[in-house]
Amino acid sequence: MTKVNNKKVIRRLAFRELKPNRKMNFMVILSIVLTCILFTALTSIGGNLLNGFQQETMRQVGGDRMAGLKYVLPEDYEKVKSDKAVRDAVYRIIVGQAVNEDFRNISVEINCAGDKAAAESMFCMPNTGRLPEEYNEIAVSTLVLDELKLPYELGITVPITLDVDGDISEHEFTLCGYWKGEKVAMAQECWVSGAFADEYAPTPTVSFYSLDFPEYAGYWSVDFNYANSWDIEGKTSKLITRLYGNAEFIPDTGINWAYTTSNVDIEMLIGGIVIIFVIFAAGYLIIYNIFHINISANIRNYGLLKTIGTTSKQIKHMVRVQAAMYSAIGIPLGLIIGVLLGKVLLKSVMSTLNILSVSSYSISAGLLMIVCIIAALLTFATVMISCHKPCKIAESVSPMEALRYNETDISTKKKNKKTSKITPLSIAQNNMARTRKKTFVVVLSLTLSMVLFNTLFTLINGLDMDKFISNMIVGDFIVRQEHFRYDGEEFNTITPDDLQYLSHIDGIQEVDAVYYDFEFGNLQLEGKPLEKAKRFYQTYSADDEYGELNSITENYLNSDVYGVTPTIINKFEPIQGTIDTEKFSTGNYAIVYTQYIPLGENYPDDDFFSVGDTVELKGENGKSKSFEVMAVCEMPYTLSTQMYSMLYASIIISENDYFELYDNRNAMTVMINAEESCFDNVDTQIRYMTDSNNSKVVLKSRQTYADEYADFLKMIKLVGGTLSGILALIGILNFVNAVVTSIISRKREFAMMSAVGMTGKQLKTMLTWEGIHYAVFTTICSLIVGTLLSYVVVNGIAGEMFFFTYHFTLLPILICVPILLLLSAVIPSISYRTICGDSIVNRLREN
């Protein structure tokens, strides 16, 4: 069989066909660019966000290697390093901890890096200076220098109190290098020289795992990568079996959870897919429309090509080649603009989502490539899918049909048409009816952007700043620790002196303190509450894997006890009972709340307690006191410890009662109300206290949250606005394209109508009516789809957010209608002018 090489001629033909079609080329390329911008911006935000989370986690963990062996010996390192599955193995020698007085707020590790790669893998490679070489050299993070109040200067002396498995010694090192410390990291690293490590932490001779009383000094931490991050746990356990088999002492392994914790939850994934689909739909609608119109316009050409022997396959190939050519121009342009746009949007998204290290890592070239490739593929797929159907039409056309083909063919099913009076409007209606498909596509495309805009508006409109803030903060200012931790740290750190200081600031109206205490088994159950608790135990004990409910069988509960300044309870919203500040301040009353976490929002069976019940609280040193339940009410989140156990009760009593039971006089949290005119001054004054060196508390003001909220809103507006803006652009482009081509393709028809006496004005009126039809259909569709989407999506999904109040609105659509009407009235008459230049005779002559 002879092989015919006709690819070249087809390609040449495809190219020639494109040349004269300037306007259409511009339209197609523009729509591909827009589609590509959307895809690129989206994938770049998505990709960078995932990468950002991962980077952030790695910095928290303090390493970028996928897995590691803990507390091993040099021979283990050699073993691991030589394994074929393992890459980039690094090690560090554990020396000890720095326990200087100044390091109250950070934890500082003293280690010896195996090499540069080891330091780099932990984001701890000095960018000024180098790793230590001499015995008394040290390299530290800037955070360590900050805590020691030392300048960033090489050669200075760094005092370190070293704790090697309990042996404390004082040292003076010379700074040989430093790097920018990560605040998010769990521990700060200090590198010492090998010589120093040898002296204070000599390499042990026996396995760490054989020791009864393990000491860490001198053991190696080995971290490494695999070829890819798929199933790291599985790979690691296989590695351990391979290396150690049945050995007596098998080292512990660590998996870097930056790789394992999934940062994508299902909602995010669905959201992403929906957005991709919307973009795809928008791109499809316009690209399909343009190709379809173009092919209809060129159908005679295709017929001609067929009569002279071009096969269907070749014609199809030709259209495909054209699509590819458009993509070749449009996609790179779209990628460039999309990446730039993505960068701008990303900054806002990242800072809003609190990815702290955002400033310290830049978008990597590799990730950018992946983003571009994905966006390019998505766009290319959209183009190819869009031109699939038009392609079929071109392919299947029969030569004779093509010569007679009329884009605006009237279905022959319709035998007769009822006579009606002719006006520009009635002709317009007829015209709309004969191009139903095109009308549908254009209307859909316009609807898409309108609906998206409406959805976005409903979303933003529903966000409730007051709800957001009131959930975050009670009162004007809150002084408390940033995070409480169950690690033996003292919860109550605000001294009576601090309270004194606070209450003397000018402009302060109210200073309410919250004291906290927790004792095991401090709440005795009896009577009705006990009955309820027992019933509850019977219902849920079967599911109680960890014995969280066992305390009920011993007739007690563990409970958080809050002592509060009575005025603070004015802000509470009880589920049962009423808040009476005066009664409460006389003592002997408690506000209680019990919750079993697995039940979510529903507190079990009207709470264990109800108004009028008596609770008996055990205090310190055998003290105890009975309280009458005044109301069932949860402690507002801001004032609570913000920590939960599976089954918990919170008991709120007045501060005087609290002082009777407990000896601690320090407060956990302080709520402050001030005169609005003094906010700035009060803010400064409080900060003077919270920013002082020994302070463990921070200031949260209403303003901080308002700012946080404003950032959040800005992000949604920016990202959503850009998205719906581009979609609107696509919609309008599609509309313009449809109108212009419909006018050009009916050039002769219009000439004929003016030959028999239709004036330009009447023609324009007709075209305007056609445009108005688009506007009206779009409005109707938008209203219907917009309503549906508003109820289902916005109310359903955003309604889950605690600070969202759903208000149904179609206002944005109604605002868009006049604009749409104006556009639809103006564009046709402008387009009509373009064909008026030709004389009727010339237009009549055209086929």
Binding site: T408, I410, K417, I422, A755, V756, G757
Partner: protein
Amino acid sequence: MTVLKTENLTKIYGSGDNKVTALNNANLSVEQGEFAAIVGTSGSGKSTLLHMLGGLDRPTSGKVLVKNKDIFSLKDEALTIFRRRKIGFVFQSFNLVPTLNVYENIVFPIQLDGNDVDEKFVGEVIHSLGLEDMKNRLPNQLSGGQQQRVAIARALATKPAIILADEPTGNLDSKTSQDVLSLLKVTGQKFSQTIVMITHNEAIAQMADRIIRIEDGKIIKGGEPND
């Protein structure tokens, strides 16, 4: 009475080396109720002449007088309105509006004018052209001959001063051509309508009252009624 008159009508296309004189000082006049045929070979300027007569194209110089009115003194919009009131067109390619049915096509120019349709007159026209049975059909369901009869009915319906027919039988077979032309002639006489037709077909031309010959843009014979 002279319904249509041209004075030194000249049309030049292009300029410089590409200058083509399509029409060179053409003078002709047509009387009320006359059926005149303009004949000439292709490229002789007959179509150009017809387009000028109908006000579809503007001349380089000279005048066209319809009922003693210089039509090119009118602006475009006014000219269009004049055209739909005073001139009926019959085109070679029928030129019916595809979305309108037969009846709607016939009354299209009247309704564009915003006038009420003279039902009796239009009914008569439809009857004489034998279109009663297809009043509600769409153009694409008609044969070529039928479509041209609709076009003739449309031209007659406005009771114009002149009907201009541009190769009305050009797309029809000879049998249908004869039928359509007979109808054109008969109805023209019946409604005492002035008709100017262009054709390159001598046999068709013979059916006219007068034959105007045109060659290289010049009228060489039959420009005046008594030529």
